[in-house]
């Protein structure tokens, strides 16, 4: 098995506090990795850094061998918008300068307009290249990671409170044709069939999470545990490769927790990779293939559950003595 995520010497400081200080570990493909540690050990910060929501002050994260920063380069849409805007602006200036400044007439004006537009687009492409070549440039585009199969949930659940539970799930699948504005007008048939399919998937997911009875409720009306479930369902709808779960079963009742654990194990067997932060030791010990214990921003110990449970340092720092 190979490490799908390699975290190397990761650093993150907030003011005087060093939240993550040289953490180094790997996450095996198709495994469940538990990330535990006392409060303030830097687990959630590590999650933020791995999922691209925050930029590291040092160190690297590799996803499938590629640096996260490279994976978070601007999307094609973004390049089109900025490049187009530069071309339009410079083209307009060129056209006005050609007609009003140089007195070139219509044809000449169109010529200077084209030259200006070309220069504008070229300027955009050039500055992109310079920016990428510069040492230490950072990109923060977590959505680029989600598109490539690295998704996360939040410790404090973030539901789209004003939207229904069903809509929360239907938002998640990637590359829906109806998300393209032109398709909403021109390809309504395609959109409708795809929408029906996505709706079916979402209903299945709700059934699985036992949320089907609240599917048309606003997500803001759900209880804390239900929100956890919804958030888990949402990332599963994306059909990712690596799923980072931040306290997925906090506030979920025992029988459903059992079910979720089974589900996660099944998904692991299907080839999904999980990294889980959780304070429920029963869950983490039963579920994890590997456990990484963090303390004060660094990795304390790494090993399988049996080793971790007997490790003196871990008992001192986190587990305590029964």
């Amino acid at each position: 098995m190979t490490a799908i995520l390699e975290i190397e010497n990761l650093q993150k400081r907030y003011g005087g506090i060093t939240a993550v200080d040289g953490a180094t570990f790997g996450i095996e493909e198709g495994s469940i990795t538990g990330l535990i540690g006392p409060n303030g050990a830097g687990k959630t910060t590590t999650f933020n850094l791995i999922s691209g929501f925050e930029e590291p002050d040092g160190g690297t994260v590799r996803f499938r061998g590629e640096d996260l920063q490279d994976l978070m380069e601007p999307s094609r849409d973004e390049r089109v918008i900025w490049g187009g805007a530069s071309a339009i602006t410079a083209g307009t200036i060129g056209g006005i300068a050609g007609v009003a400044g140089l007195g070139l007439g219509t044809v000449g004006g169109l010529g200077t307009l084209a030259v200006g537009a070309g220069l504008g687009a070229g300027f955009y492409a050039g500055q992109e290249r310079v920016r990428q070549a510069r040492e230490g440039h950072t990109n923060s585009r977590p959505f680029m990671l989600a598109r490539q199969g690295l998704v996360r949930t939040f410790q404090i659940t973030r539901e789209l409170t004003e939207m229904t539970v069903l809509e929360n799930l239907m938002l998640a699948p990637q590359g829906q044709a109806g998300e393209n504005l032109a398709n909403t007008w021109l390809r309504r048939d395609l959109m409708a069939s795809e929408e029906a399919e996505v709706r079916g998937q979402a209903r299945e997911m709700l059934e699985l999470l036992e949320l089907d009875h609240v599917s048309d409720e606003r997500a803001g009306n759900l209880s804390g545990g239900q929100r956890k479930l919804l958030e888990l369902g949402r990332v599963l709808m994306i059909d990712p490769e690596v799923i980072l779960l931040d306290e997925p079963v906090a506030g979920v009742n025992p029988s459903l927790t059992r079910k979720l654990m089974d589900r996660i194990e099944t998904l692991r067997d299907e080839g999904y990779t999980f990294c889980i932060v959780e304070h429920d030791m029963e869950v983490i010990m039963n579920l994890s293939d590997t456990i990484v214990v963090m303390s004060e921003g660094d990795v304390l110990v790494e090993g399988d559950p049996e080793e971790i449970q007997e490790d003196e340092a871990v008992i001192d720092a986190y587990l305590g003595v029964d």
């Binding site: 939040f154 973030r158 789209l160 109806g178 909403t184 959109m191």
Partner: protein, 559 residues
Amino acid sequence: MAVSDVVVSFALLVAIYGILSLGLNVKFGHTGLLDFGHVGFFLIGAYTSALFVLPPDDPADFTNYVIGLGDVPLVGTWVFGIIVATILTGVIGGLVALPTIRLREDYLAITLLGISVIFQRVVQSESWLANGPDALRGYSPPFQGLFPIDPGTVVGAVAFALVVFVVWAVATAALSVQRENDSRLPLDRIYAVTTFGLGTRATGVLGSRFAVAGVAGLIAAVISAGLLLAASLVLVVGVLVSVYGWIVVLVAIGQHYAGLERRELALGVGFGTGLLVALLPLPLTDRLSVSIIGTLALLGALVYAYYHAITSYEWVADVKLAVIGLGAVWFVGIWYVLLPILGPLGSGDVSGVLGTLFRNAVWFLQFGSSAGIGYSIAVIGDVTVQLDYSRFQLALFLLSLGALYAILEAAVQSPFGRVLRAIRNDEAVVKSLGKDPFVYKVQSMVIGSALGGFAGGLWAMYSQGLTFRTGAPETTFIALLIVFVGGVGNNKGVLLGAVLYWAFQQATTQLAGFFPPALRVNVLAFRLVVVGVLFLIVLYYMPDGLLGREEYSSGVGES
């Protein structure tokens, strides 16, 4: 003024502000981008389309502006001008979005307000650009030269048919909705007739009932054009269309208040009557202090009675909005229909009364006599029957509003609209789900600004002159008020908000007519204060507006 003329001029403004507010609703209501500078795009749209239809400037005539393509065929027309204005404002909206869109909501609002003021200053102070600081005039609305039109000619028949098409399609669409809510009235039969037998059977073939309405409108237009050309039956067509319109309106009102009990109806009528009584001192005494104080006192008493009733009695509180609505309908009925009749009736002018009644009933047409005065139908031989330009303009504006509304609804009732609403709700979630909020926000700004530009083009057409008042920041806040009153993120609510706002404006303008001219200006200016207070009341008591946020389940693809 006959009620029909009031309604037409009112509907024109509703259409303009409806489109403008729909644009703001895309930005603010759906995506959560608070744009205090929305009027900037309205301004650019208005000036751009006006500059396209204006003839070249003439310094000898003290006009100085760029473009001026009015003499060029095709390019110098309103259609072309408005299309260019819409695209241009869309592009500018996108460009403005790029540097600003990352700002937090309140900073974004202030920045965009600043940008709109820059636009306004540039247009006003650059003398070469658009005749600043003087007004930009000298153009006329499209096809106005053809009016008053003779429906007997081909051009006249086509123009007439266009108006018939719009009115008929709108009325039929409304009727098809009403038909589903009510089985007591013979609406099915009326519907079968007015859709020329297409009725419910063709719904499956044509896709939706709105397509049926469109086809019915088309058939009605063709038939009326034929009637005009073959037999010049102007009056017949006018009467048919008018009566159809009245039926739909009356059924709509009846249906809307059908659920009320007798005492609730009485309360609504009482409220409307109370409003009338409160206004009585104005025409009755010439002593200004007495009439104003009397009216204000009576109005205050009415408002207090209403407030007391809704806070003390539960059954009144349940229908608090219906009471106001019914009172307003009652008031409008008496004010515009009954009172104009009572005046001539008192002086024994029976034919005048009949004339007024007929003009109100046949609102589709305008009547003038060869003598130029009087509207008597007793001498029908002398009366000229006209399709007034305002009716034609009404058709154009309603067509624009309907088309843009449909296009916009298609865009937001989709996965695209779902992403926009998710961004408004929580941007971080959208990011975690692999969608780029930046791209969606820019698109939202482009659509919203383009709608603002289109509305500006219609405004240039309607106002026939752009002055330093065009594009004043308060226009944005009127649009924002409309959005808030109707329901944030609810396109239907925005249209309702536009109707309510202009109903308020219309009512207060009428009220100001009672005051001597010197005071009238102050009364009209005071309206802005009242609008501000109403804004606060709406925000405080109904933060979600009258219709609230629309529950989009994204009905697309629902089996």
